[in-house]
Amino acid sequence: MAKTKQVFSSISKHEKRNFWIYISPWIIGFLAFTAIPFFSSLALSFMQWDIITPPKWVGFENYKELMDDKIYFWNALRNTIFYALVGVPLSVTLGLLLSILLSKEIKGINVFRIIFYLPAVFGGVAVLMLWSYLLYPGTGNGDAGLINAALGWFGIEGPGWSQSEFWSKPAVILVGLWGVGGSMMIWLPALAGVPKELHEAAEIDGASRWRKFWSVTFPLITPAIFFQVTMGIIGSFQIFMEPKIMPGNQKAWTDSLMVNLFDNAFTFYKMGYASAIAWVLFIMIMVLTVINLVVSKRWVYYESN
């Protein structure tokens, strides 16, 4: 008996070591790229630091300055809230509608699924550059962007997009919507998870298509909707690439909080101030997510309850 115990403990020691070896890439990565920067930025947000000279403790000075900054911070916050308020409902609704169409079991549906998923594969700066060409306003005599030129064929005068204060923000959202097919990864399994017999039962009771959707499908996919809304809000508060790569003619029209943060950190080298923006952003996202979680109890239906 004593012998087996010894063998067992030596195996466990060996396994313990292996455990740490195997998990070390993740731990090192987590510490170096998440945990340490996370806490350093909290400390930095109370300091003034320009990278060259040593950081100086300033207490809540950065946060105070932030609250007073009407032209950049508050403007960026307003823009960011616009992206969230308009962009999230649009992308969730469009993503769901598209996925409902793509969930039909018809011949060749996979081809369509691939086509609509592709934008999620091609991402990044190159695509945004292409979009800024597509959305170019132009004067109409042959040098308009493709989208306005296409609108012109139907006698519609396209908007000024990035050149107009009203349209520059919708242009940013529109570009984001292009990749809405990516959300089908969540929607399709959720839709497939709605039991067929419930639909059949509703049909026998004479429910219309619309009724079937609202009374059967919708309640059953609320967890997916909740997930998409939450992730959408977080994503739109962190929106950076779109307004950075295709800003409005006046940057103030499109600047988001993240663009403001980037400018302060890497153009003006105000690391403390930028960290303060990051923390305000973090707290806002945190609060919104908690609110979301609390409210979700009223409308999200889990089969397990």
Partner: protein, 431 residues
């Protein structure tokens, strides 16, 4: 078994990556220790740019090695995009280069006391400030100390399309041209039907608006960098002149008039382009369909134009300062400058080289490089403070509506003033 293999691969990979990440730093420090056997002192030297710059730097190094066989110059090329960030983080990380190229960031570095005062070295070796264009020297003098030596100079200039001048029967611009002549020519050249504009170069970029404002006798801030001056009557006159070119006379295109990806100037749709000297080499290479020439920008209250420059400095942290000075002196001296001159682009800061035929006649009679030298000679140094980035962003924010929405000039300046003055106060305090 399969998953174990996967994990092992992951561990090895991440270990390699980490090792690779660290090694770039250690390579740099071991490079500057240098004294292993061959007794050569190594000077690490960072610069920005592409292949064109690399060729020039290596050509100068070849000459340098002939005279200084005991110094090994290690050239470190960094892409222009992100150069400042790279330099700043490496200097903050304690690993100092021996010679660094600087431009607009100069004041930030000098203000933080991170650069070596070059004045004693100049006195010792008899390098005289007077041999260089005064604006070039002034740009790199901080608290009466020369903290970097200028390497390349340029200035806002005017390129004009000779064919469009001929077509409209307008005499070519001269050194004596006034903004009034400029305005009249622009009116004649503009032809809406052909999509031809008289002028391009009205915008919120600092060199764009300062070219007009300073020439009209105004400025962004007072000379001591303490007060906002863009709301002075002279400055306002300059800004309104620009605004009128777009909205009243319609001789300059709106941003939305310029098709994306199309260069109106190289496609022959612009009469006069007010912009930087880099257009000269680009025009030589790209413009085949029409004849063009260079002139100084017109004269207003006085002749002046924004200076562009970059320079070489020695960080205080360098451990090879004497060798580094030899490098700086050689690059910005006659041999280095002559190599630059033969490119026929930017102006060598050394007056004797700039005014020699080596530079002026490099393109034969095709380009009037004298116009560029004249411009550099009369140029003003942009009022760069440690808050330059923030002030430029403010200018962009408040001046953009003037040029893209016909906003009221006085009102924009009234809103802009307290914001800029706040930055100026902060810059003073940071000193």
């Amino acid at each position: 078994m399969k998953s174990l293999k996967k994990i092992l691969t992951a561990v090895t990979l991440s270990a390699t990556l980490l090792a690779a990440g660290c090694s770039s730093d250690s390579a740099k420090t071991s490079g500057s220790s240098g004294s292993d056997g061959d007794k050569k002192e190594t000077v690490s030297f960072t610069y920005w740019g592409g292949d064109f710059d690399k060729k020039r730097m290596e050509a100068i190094r070849t000459e340098f090695n002939k005279e200084n066989p005991d110094i090994n110059v290690k050239l470190i090329q960094i892409p222009s995009d992100g150069y400042d960030q790279k330099l700043l983080t490496s200097m903050a990380g304690g690993s100092s280069y021996d010679v660094v190229q600087l431009a607009e960031a100069f004041n930030t570095y000098a203000g933080k006391g991170t650069l070596e005062d070059l004045t004693p070295y100049m006195e010792k070796d008899g390098v005289s400030k007077d041999d260089y264009f005064s604006a070039g020297m002034e740009a790199y003098t901080y608290d009466d100390k020369v903290m970097a030596m200028p390497m390349r100079l340029g200035a806002m200039i005017m390129l004009y399309n000779k064919d469009l001048f001929d077509k409209n029967g307008i005499p070519y611009p001269t050194d004596q041209w006034t903004w009034e002549d400029f305005h009249n020519a622009a009116l004649k050249i503009t032809n809406k039907q052909d999509g031809v504009f008289g002028v391009q170069g009205v915008g919120t970029w600092w060199a764009n608006y300062m070219a007009y404002v300073e020439s009209f006798g105004g400025s962004l801030m007072t000379e001591d960098h303490t007060k906002f001056n863009l709301d002075s009557p002279e400055s306002i006159k300059g800004l309104k002149f620009m605004q009128d070119l777009i909205y009243k006379d319609k001789v300059a295109p709106l941003t939305s008039d310029i098709p994306k990806g199309v260069d109106l100037w190289t496609s022959g749709k612009i009469g006069m382009l007010v912009d930087g000297p880099w257009h000269i080499l680009s025009a030589i290479a790209n413009i085949k369909d029409f004849k063009w020439e260079v002139a100084p920008i017109p004269t207003g209250e006085k002749f002046t134009t924004p200076l562009f420059s970059n320079a070489f400095a020695i960080p205080k942290g360098s451990e090879h300062k004497d060798a580094a000075w030899k490098v700086v002196k050689f690059w910005t001296g006659e041999v280095g400058q002559t190599i630059l001159a033969k490119e026929g682009g930017e102006v060598p800061p050394l007056k004797s080289v700039a005014n020699s035929d080596v530079y002026l006649k490099v393109h034969g009679d095709a380009v009037n490089l004298q116009a560029l030298v004249t411009s550099v000679d009369g140029a003003f140094v942009p009022p760069i403070t440690s808050k330059w980035g923030e002030i430029n962003k403010l200018a962009d924010t408040y001046l953009a509506p003037i040029f893209s929405e016909n906003a009221d000039v006085e009102k924009q300046l009234k809103d802009m003033k307290p914001q800029v003055e706040k930055m100026l106060t902060e810059a003073q305090q940071a000193k």
